[in-house]
Amino acid sequence: MRPTTLACCLALGLIVGLAGCGRSEKPAAPAATGATPAKAPMIFRVGNGSEVQDLDPQTVTGVPEHKVIMALFEGLVTENPKDLSPMPGLAESWTISADGLVYTFTLRPNLRWSNGDPITAPEIVESFRRILSPSLASEYAYLVYNFVAGARDYYEGRLPDFAQVGFKAPDARTFVVTLNHPTPYLLKIMASHYSWWPVPTHIIAQHGPLDRKRLPWTKPGNLVGSGPFVLESWEPNKLISVVRNPHYWDAATVKLDAIHFYPTEDLATDERMFRTGQVDMTYELPNTKIDAYRRDYPESLQIDPYLGVYFYRCNTARPPLNDKRVRQALALAIDREAIVKHVTRGDEQPAYAVSYPGNSGYTARARLTGTIADAQRLLAEAGYPGGKGCPTIELVYNTSQNHRAIAEAIQQMWRKHLGVNVELRNEEWKVYIDMQQTKNFMMQRGGWIADYLDPHVFFEIWESDSGNNNTNWSSPEYDRLLHAALAAKTDAERYELYQQMDAILVDELPVIPIYYYTKVAARSKRIKGFYPTLLDNHPYKYIHLAD
């Protein structure tokens, strides 16, 4: 019996030994600046998706990066917490010239970086010189050089002298931007997109040449910013912690003592962390959990509209999709209500046009209308009555349960109503993107999430030479309207041009719209000062946690 006893003791000892370690403390809370000593520091803990690439606003792309950078940096204009409309940020005021080409910003007095150094207009000019340096190879440089006078020529080396580019600092508190053409939504981009937020060039220069990639200036201890918070620690794949920035111009408004960003690549893990109280808010919520949350935790389930559209992209150079009647027939044979109700289940809005409805006061008048009988008639007119003779359509989507479920539902609808055969094919993300960009597909699932809050964001991508069009579809009339919209004097005039473009898109259907996104997350009721916004941006300085 002795060996049995010995072994049992060993096994038991190990289990007790491991379990005996007890529940660990959460990572030590950073010392709160400005909080009363009796109160525990107010720490907002959020699931933040995948690990961030970097925290340099001029070189990163991606949503998790944006979420952290919003705490660390601020633009000349910033976002209203309720509707994201532009409001004064680092600049206290601005004027726009009558022709809409010259923006003159006045910086706040005594503006400081998070290390206490002054923020001046010449340094902001220097910051824009950095993002336009070819050797920095900033992926969002185009969001600057598409608009600013001379910027594209400078970026592409045709203009060697940066003084010719439309960024000027006549004095320490005045910053002037000159544009190529009027851009009515420029302030919205400046408020919402980090590529327009100044970086501390005098700090970056301490680590190496300003235009060199991969300098260590963003590491904790080095990073200096202009936002309401400052980087305290960054342990890759573990935790990013930011604490109040005492030098922030509006520090009095900031209520949180710290924000902890947890990388939560796996949505299921994120959700479990929410249930054990490790995070106050998840990055997203898997669709499969929505029903359970509706039933068990309705108070934690948050579904907000999200400025994006889910569609099927057609390769208009390949038969049968080269015939617009086939595209129209396919578009009409989709029961969008059934898809959002039974498949996606996240309160999405069915999409009958390409642009997002109600975005900055714009809603398309053109709509997909027609019955199944119309769809069948269109298909017959195209030469495929009852689907006879119609080549099998290969539909490609990136590997995901969600996309597959939607594709299967639509496959059934098309087979049932039109007699069209669809073959489903899933591909790994980068292969799927590569197929899209080389136009090596017949039909592909796609989506477009807006970077800024203006209807324009849904129209610029379908321009003939846009790198994001990828449908082989082009329309000179559409391109002409797009350029006319940029030159429009008023929003009313501009929106009227967008109406004509929406009508073209609904008629030609290079993409078949299916639904408008929603943002689904689990969020604690303790979170206050947090408003649903179309871009899912939530300025942190207004957020606090109730007891």
């Binding site: 072994a7 190990l14 792309t61 190879a137 794949n237 490790q278 980068k430 790198g467």
Partner: protein
């Protein structure tokens, strides 16, 4: 023995070279690259990015540059994580994976050996059936099922542990138990088989006839031989455990190398793929060598050849 070890280490060089070369070219032939993104970068930006990382040079030139840097111990910059190098990422993540691996190994060996020995000495009794069933279950239940189940029970219902993370000592328990259980199951089955074979041999009967106690027979005489199959299994298994488990590290949000290993391929982070593959290959080769040495030590019939 020294000659044997040295020769095996020298043999490692061409093997690693083949692995590096195959990986280098294979990852390049996969569609998509490190800068392939849903929002397409403009051609000018793409050109500048490729120039920065040397991707504009001909492929053979890039390969020679990489080998040159590799010989100096430089694994290059990560494409995805802009302010970190592959050396830094490995130095940062490997210790975490090692720690998780050691805890899991402790679980695997303790539980596995115990179950295996018990099953063997009580062959065809209820105890044997119980241990074998536990081991079979361990092999059949994948970690991505066991992990969330443990979290559901111990973290969400009982509230004893965090659901995920790697902060305090308690955060080691659930991941180590999950990963350890799978290996424990294999160890148990191999131990049982090995022990049964040895226990039936003449020298065991001789030991018993000479009046050795059952404990002495099992632990002194039988276990050494019975462990041989376990040892050959442990070589590659340890390499796998130490370099991290993608599934465990993802489920429990552990900042280890296993996730980097898999995600680097999804991200087309060419240098990180190569760095982790080289590390993994080197570890497997070295651990197999260790296994061979241990086997000679355990089995007097073998010699270094």
């Amino acid at each position: 023995m020294l000659r044997f070890v040295l020769r095996r280490l020298l043999e490692m060089i061409p093997v690693l070279w083949v692995i590096v070369t195959a990986t280098f070219f294979m990852i390049r032939f996969v569609p998509g690259g490190p800068f392939t993104a849903e929002k397409a970068v403009t051609p000018e930006v793409l050109r500048n990015l490729e120039a920065h990382y040397g991707l504009d040079k001909p492929l053979h030139r890039q390969y020679l540059d990489y080998l040159g840097n590799l010989l100096q111990g430089d694994l290059g910059p990560s494409f995805k994580y802009a302010n970190r190098t592959v050396n830094e990422i490995i130095a940062d993540k490997l210790p975490t994976s090692l720690e998780l691996g050691l805890w899991s190994l402790a679980v695997a060996l303790t539980v596995g050996l115990t179950l295996g020995v018990l099953a063997a000495i009580r062959r065809n009794t209820w105890l044997d059936y119980l241990c074998s069933s536990v081991a079979m279950t361990g092999i059949s239940v994948p970690t991505f099922v066991l992990g969330p189940l443990l979290v559901l029970f111990f973290a969400i219902h009982l509230g004893w542990f965090n659901a995920s993370g790697w902060y305090g000592p308690a955060d080691r328990v659930l991941p180590a138990a999950t990963l350890g259980c799978v290996y424990a199951a294999y160890v148990a089955r191999l131990t049982r088989g090995g022990m049964l074979e040895v226990l039936g041999q003449d020298f065991i009967r001789t030991a018993r006839a000479k009046g050795a106690s059952e404990v002495r027979v099992v632990f002194r005489h039988a276990l050494r031989g019975g462990l041989l199959p376990v040892v050959s299994f442990l070589g590659p298994a340890i390499a796998g455990i130490l370099t991290g488990s993608f599934v465990i590290e993802t489920i429990f949000q552990i900042p280890g190398l296993g996730r980097e290993f898999v995600n680097s391929a999804f991200n087309r982070d060419y240098t990180l793929v190569l760095g982790t593959v080289i590390l993994y290959a080197a570890l497997i080769i070295v651990l197999n060598l260790v296994v061979d040495v241990v086997q000679v030590w355990l089995n007097p019939k073998l010699k270094f050849e």
